[in-house]
Symmetry: C2
Subunit: 186 residues, 2 copies
């Protein structure tokens, strides 16, 4: 049941936003009364936090697996781009929530999630550093370029259309070629 509540919440937070979604609406979508939700979650924010944690953890795990399987900065950067984009398309709803509902978290929870996001960014930055050290990437501003890469790859969750012209792999390919070309020492 906790999982059913979470799934309803994901759909609603995605569609209407966190603040515009009420506990009654979540309850109705789940097929229970709103008071019953409080048996599983102590506050509305708790539901949001659960969604954040799950999706951030899964993303972290996916990146770790993909990075460990790749060797060399070029291959590892490609793996990271693929991983990030595929995740943000397959888990589109959660990705959009994670990308736009940070303000729904109060200080303590906010810090926890920001910490996870920072760790993730650092992993990408490390790959960039490796590429510069290996001499295959140009000397670049690691921080700024990592924000640029993450922003453009994250944004696919806002415009990708499952019944559109391109598959998720094709999108990942286009991004990968573009980014690696921008990074390459030419």
């Amino acid at each position: 049941m906790k999982d059913k509540i979470k799934k309803s919440a994901i759909k609603l937070f995605y569609k209407k936003g966190y603040f515009a979604t009420s506990m009654s609406t979540i309850a109705r979508a789940t097929g229970i009364r709103k008071s019953s939700i409080y048996h599983h979650y102590s506050t509305k924010e708790d539901i949001l936090l659960d969604i954040f944690r799950t999706s951030m953890n899964d993303l972290q795990d996916a990146l770790r697996t993909r990075l460990d399987a790749a060797t060399g900065a070029r291959e590892r950067m490609q793996a990271a781009i693929y991983c990030h984009i595929i995740f943000h398309i397959e888990r589109q709803k959660e990705a959009i929530i994670a990308d736009s509902e940070l303000r729904g978290l109060t200080a303590r929870n906010y810090k926890e999630i920001i910490q996870m996001r920072d760790d993730y960014e650092k992993k990408i930055q490390r790959v960039l550093e490796e590429g510069v050290a290996e001499g295959i990437f140009v000397d670049l501003d690691i921080k700024v370029i990592s924000y640029a890469i993450l922003a453009m790859c994250t944004a696919v969750c806002t415009w990708f259309n499952k019944s559109g012209r391109l598959s998720k792999e094709e999108v990942a390919d286009i991004f990968s070629v573009f980014i690696l070309k921008g990074l390459a020492r030419s």
Copy 2:
């Protein structure tokens, strides 16, 4: 007074988000009672719409001016990148609102703003097409690449720090070099 209300609203929508900001809070920040706001704006959404219109219009105007002054796809793309980034840093609060509060608009207003955004995107796509036609940009997926460029340049409003390491012009430079390298026919 209308302008004072708008300025308070921009600060609050930026800081707490549209749905988490109440009319009473806006009134308090402006130094009037909440009923007085309704003399200037008929609904809360009207304030948001006003903010959207102003910032979108100013961005459009800035881009038009900058593009008209540049010749050749390379120079024009550089101008577009600069213009977009500088605007999103100088008008950081409005940029963040425009980027994250679209859900606060009901159907009619939503359509109006989406139309403006589409027009803006088309201008960027036209510059990409020019570059491909001129043979200075590699043959690429215009739509996907335009989304990538806009997403990374828009995101500066979320991480740029006015008292940080880099000036807005330095950030624009880093982006410009990275993007044009990714686009170049090499």
